[in-house]
Symmetry: C2
């Protein structure tokens, strides 16, 4: 049996969880849910399924030291810092190169986002094992489909086709199409139809299969990546190769470049809980709350208020009187106050702070 | 001409300005308005009117070191720490004793709260000089009356009687009666009638006149105070005398004990701005705001919000998105978030925190 690999995508600028997340300490380096950074949880979740030396992380140069500090179990040579972000198609291509440079036998590898919250490790491993099995034994681009429980507009959707395995075991489907983030009425239609999964950015495929897809659908990108691969083969330094070639790569997502076009896509229905914890309000789904639905991390007192989310640094005390559904996040140098309904504006706020050059509160 | 004295009342537990104010650092030790602690502003405001060596401060034992540290110009021997709080009648009696021990010639002294915001020092001195003049030349209990501009329910009121001086100079009135804090409909009636002043706790009287009033209306209190005065006369240590006798004094306010009963009360209409800055929303009256009425002390950004009051410690950055009329106060160890309309509940919150024994955030 060929080896299994996993490449964890740990980019992200950490805007939506400001002020706790910063440019150099984005969400995946924080214990937003649980006791360890989200990235470490993602690494730990692979134990037994993928050998530790086969786990790679693609991050950016600025965050690389933070990744190594946060997850000391990672092989330093397996943590790659992109010199610039070139979106997910380039990162997937780089991942394929990294895996091939370890084991050039058409091994399958999983692409996993660094910062999803998944509590059911057993279910995750079962689903992923199925995906590996399918990918290893066919010319398929295998995705993991998450059964939607609300008409989310923040994810792409996967329309499933014919079912390939009977009910009772992991459900595998053909894929009719990948669709980009829908508007709310469309998302509601998708949800009601029962025909759609969320695209969680989790894929499994063999190096030769994804390589072939990239060479067909994004030949320029693949040609440029070839230079990096050749350089590695010649024993050149990876960082220098990336510095030279990576900035020239097309900036395009793997969904748009490949998944929406390919006709050999299958999806395995996720048999585990999944939450991408996209913004502060999401943490309430993972934490205990008081009888009025307030979530309080750290010390504090909420007097006459409901549905608030309060996140304190250790030792700090936050007192709230008579407000509802507010997000309050307190760090040593910055505080955020924002209604839960306006959490999506935090990203804009961070851009505004950046524009005003108050960078000390972003880095 | 006899000397003039001032005794500043600097008690208070600092609850309403939590978390910036603390038990040991109440409002009068903070620069809530302006650049120096409110107490120091009160001291400075007397310059030229009362000689520095004749300015006394009555505070409590816990706060005395803070008073000396905050206002280094004060004569340390003139800063008295009460061992326990016994309300204002006892403090006024003690003030009379302190003044007499400096100058036993029936000098007049002013009683002043430590923490009012008064910007017009010239007007203040003019009014107080008039009050001194009246007190020095007659058997009067002279109060300073503040012309109300809203139906406040947080102050006592003074109903004025016949006017004793013609218009154009400081207006002096007989006093029909002192009334305790009214309810809102009553306060509205008072305001409309034009017959009432606010009682700001500012008095001027001669030591013999207030001594006589206390001996008539609160003979037990006066007798007990006598023991302290005798002890001072015998060269005993003031702190020891206070420790021995002060706890036994009746706990009663000067308004209730004397002002509501005496028939020799006059009031001088204040010819200056006055604000007791009773709670956080009041600071907006003294600070510049942005076009949407937001007041921001320190660093921060208010995105899509109006009427907020944000008070930051130096260097801290507070960002607000989409909320209105909120008080946000940020200190090194604690944060408060409260609608302006609920500012009066901060006191209850502090009591609740005290009950929960989170004392580190109160001291």
């Amino acid at each position: 049996m060929s080896q299994r690999f996993a490449v964890i995508m740990a980019g992200g600028r950490g805007e939506r969880f400001w002020p706790q997340s910063r440019l150099k300490r984005p969400k995946h380096l924080l214990p937003i849910i649980g006791d360890t950074p989200m990235l470490c949880q993602t690494v730990d979740r692979l134990a037994g399924l993928v050998p530790p030396e086969n786990v790679f992380v693609i991050t950016n140069r600025e965050q690389r030291p933070g990744v190594l500090a946060a997850c000391p179990d990672l092989e330093p040579a397996n943590v790659i810092g992109e010199p610039v972000g070139r979106d997910t198609a380039a990162a997937v291509g780089l991942a394929a190169i990294l895996v091939k440079s370890s084991d050039d036998a058409g091994s399958a590898f999983a692409i996993l986002p660094a910062d999803a919250a998944i509590h059911d490790t057993k279910g995750f491993q079962k689903t992923l094992a199925t995906a590996f099995e399918v990918a290893e034994n066919g010319e398929y681009l295998v995705t993991v489909g998450i059964k939607p429980n609300n008409p989310a507009t923040g994810y792409g959707y996967i329309q499933k086709g014919e079912r390939l395995r009977p009910a009772g075991v992991d459900a595998i489907f053909e894929v009719k199409r990948f669709v980009e983030k829908p508007d709310l009425p469309t998302a509601e239609k998708y949800l009601q139809s029962g025909e759609y999964f969320w695209n969680a950015g989790m894929f499994v495929w063999r190096t030769d299969v994804i390589g072939n897809a990239l060479s067909v659908y994004t030949p320029e990108l693949w040609k440029a990546l070839d230079k990096i691969e050749d350089g590695i083969g010649d024993g050149e330094n990876l960082d220098s190769l990336l510095a030279e070639h990576y900035p020239n790569l097309d900036k395009i997502s793997i969904d748009y470049a490949v998944m929406e076009k390919a006709d050999n896509v299958l999806t395995v229905e996720a048999n585990f809980d999944w939450d991408d914890v996209g913004e502060w309000p999401a943490i309430a789904r993972h934490q205990s709350s008081d009888p009025k639905g307030n979530v309080l991390q750290g010390k504090g007192m909420i007097r006459d208020g409901s549905g608030n989310i309060v996140v304190n640094e250790k030792g700090h005390f936050t007192a709230i009187i008579g407000v509802d559904d507010l997000i309050v996040v307190q760090t040593g140098d910055a505080t955020l106050i924002c209604p839960k309904s306006k959490a999506q504006e935090i990203k804009k706020l961070v851009k505004e702070i950046e524009k005003n050059s108050d960078l000390e509160h972003l880095l």
